[in-house]
């Protein structure tokens, strides 16, 4: 039985390695173009939309008194980090030329989202800040949803 275990393990290792190499090769072949496509941009916008939505939820919960001040501040900082990373990737050169308008739009929304999350930081201590952040983030969520919808194939 141990000999069978050993040869079986070897065949499985070969199969997995071939699948990984095959999938990697196919992926590389498919992404030979150096620029990202509509699908990638939609994914970036979806990520921003989620951040806006979670931010809105944080603001609502802060208004309801269900969160600590430190949680709200720290959550806003963590989300801003994610948004900053996405912002850095949203340059027209990174995407196909026909997407440049949408890329600029997404970059602008990311910049505004970053600003909104910055004001969210104070929502834990200040009810007005929480309400303003909620409204701001709701608006951004709607705009990002619209952009995401427009990018669907």
């Amino acid at each position: 039985m141990h000999k069978r275990a050993r040869s079986w393990s070897s065949w499985l290792a070969v199969a997995i390695l071939l699948l990984i190499l095959g999938a990697g090769g196919a992926s590389l072949a498919g992404s030979q173009k150096s620029q990202s496509d509509r699908h990638s941009l939609k994914n970036e916008v979806s990520g921003l939309k989620s951040q806006a939505g979670v931010g809105r939820l944080v603001a609502e919960q802060a208004l309801a008194g269900n969160l600590t001040r430190t949680y709200v501040e720290a959550q806003a900082v963590q989300m801003r980090k994610g948004v900053e990373q996405t912002r850095d990737e949203l340059t027209p050169e990174e995407f196909e030329p026909e997407l440049s308008t949408q890329v600029m739009q997404a970059a602008d929304l990311a910049r505004r989202l970053d600003g909104a999350l910055n004001t969210l930081k104070d929502a834990g201590a200040d009810g007005r800040a929480a309400e303003s952040a909620r409204n701001n983030l709701s608006g951004l969520f709607a705009e990002l949803s619209e952009l995401e919808e427009g990018l669907k194939e």
């Binding site: 050993r6 499985l12 199969a15 944080v58 949680y71």
Partner: protein, 413 residues
């Protein structure tokens, strides 16, 4: 056979140690993306981890041999060494993700800078593992990990449609809009399966059986703990899916950060619930970090024949001790470079399932070998049938994991 108190403690620590950062993120996101349509995978994975842990625990109790001893014997040096290197790289990845998760949670409580908190997490983990005995590590992190039960309470108070929840346990593929969505569903099937069947849990469990001095008389204890502990632990995973489905799905959100998952608890249980949820996540992630670091040390020591175990003085098992210390340090250093722990989590989950068949098969073979286990303790027909079924399942998952990761662009669709 240990007394009922020990059994109860064993079950609770197994339950409290069930969830880690990858399982948390994937469970909540599976609820957010697909509602309850992936609960059958949680159930399937739970049966799989029961089978794997029960067999590995039984072999450890009867033969006193842990997983990587068996791998060296049965798979041989070459295949065994490849498995060892792969398993320990995955352990290191997972440990890294857990330390990153701890730093994120501590930031939610303190507001201090993330990198400093990663360093503080490193110091905390080093001291905890150095000072505490194996039994106290299990109990402390396992029992405090039960704070995760706040998610059970939250899931209850969110008032889901329980009929819909129950229907989610019936294996089915939902009607989706495009081929990319089907691919994403398949990716989540593999990822959820992997996050429940994490191999380091079995290395740790089997080595722990030897640390706890289990004998053939503890075979029934092993069965009870692995079955009941895993079933109760999986309820936590189900609760996370419910939270994702009830809180994030209606809002079309996919939360990426562990702290966001706690919003589901704050909505239902207020500020106290939020703090309990963060506390539960901390103990769960810290327990997982410790399990992965110790598993790496167990694997290396068992494969190469070094003295190992927390039951030995650190200087007697010096290379074993240095290995887990180095694992923690390396993991913390990676986190301090600023890498996103949630991205690390994704890769650790995917590559965990890739190596799973290599660690699972030798355990299955030995547990079913009458000459080794004896007539009394060898796999019965049911255990053999379940064991072989899961061998096919984990092999299929291993073959599909990386192609799906690539095809779905890292789970984004």
């Amino acid at each position: 056979m240990k007394n009922w108190g020990e059994i109860f403690l064993g079950i609770l620590t197994a339950m409290g140690g069930f969830v880690e950062v990858g399982e948390l993120v994937f469970s909540v996101n599976s609820g957010a993306k697909f509602g309850y349509r992936l609960l059958w995978v949680v159930a399937l994975g739970t049966v799989g981890i029961i089978a794997f842990c029960e067999m590995a625990g039984r072999v450890a109790a009867v033969k006193g041999q842990p997983v990587f001893n068996l791998i060296r014997e049965r798979a041989g040096l070459n295949a065994g060494l490849v498995t060892l290197v792969a398993a320990n790289l995955v352990n290191l990845l997972t440990c890294t993700a857990e330390i990153g998760g701890i730093a994120l949670l501590w930031q939610l409580l303190s507001g201090w800078p993330y990198r400093w908190l990663a360093l503080a997490a490193l110091v905390f983990l080093l001291v905890a593992v150095w000072v505490l005995s194996f039994q106290w590590i299990e109990r402390f992190f396992g029992l405090f990990g039960l704070l995760m039960c706040t998610y059970l309470a939250a899931a209850y108070y969110l008032k889901p449609d329980w009929g819909e929840v129950a229907a989610g346990f019936v294996p089915s593929v939902p009607h989706l809009g495009s081929s990319s969505e089907y691919l994403l569903y398949a990716y989540f099937v593999v990822a959820i399966f992997s996050s429940v069947l994490l191999p380091y849990e079995t290395y740790f469990y089997a080595s722990g059986a030897i640390e706890d001095g289990w004998t053939p008389g503890d075979v029934t204890l092993n069965r009870i703990i692995s079955i009941v502990g895993s079933v109760l632990g999986s309820l936590l995973a189900v609760a996370l899916v419910v939270c994702g489905a009830e809180v994030f799905r209606p809002r079309h959100l996919e939360p990426q950060l562990p702290g966001a998952a706690a919003l589901a608890v704050s909505m239902t249980l207020g500020r106290g619930g939020l703090l309990a949820a963060i506390g539960g996540m901390f103990f769960a992630f810290a327990g997982a970090a410790i399990e992965t670091a110790l598993s790496g040390a167990y694997n290396l020591a068992q494969f190469l024949g070094w003295p190992w175990g927390k039951f030995r003085p650190a200087r007697t098992a010096a290379r074993f001790s240095l290995t887990w210390i180095i694992t923690f340090v390396l993991a913390a250093l990676v986190i301090m470079t600023g890498v996103d722990p949630v991205s690390v989590v994704e890769y650790s989950i995917v590559f965990s399932v890739v190596i799973l068949p290599f660690t699972y098969f030798p355990v299955l073979v030995i547990a079913g070998d009458r000459r080794v286990m004896g007539e009394e303790h060898v796999n019965g027909w049911f255990a053999e049938a379940v064991g072989w079924f899961f061998l096919v399942a984990v092999t299929l998952a291993a073959l599909l994991a990386v192609p799906l990761l690539i095809a779905t662009r890292g789970g984004q669709g």
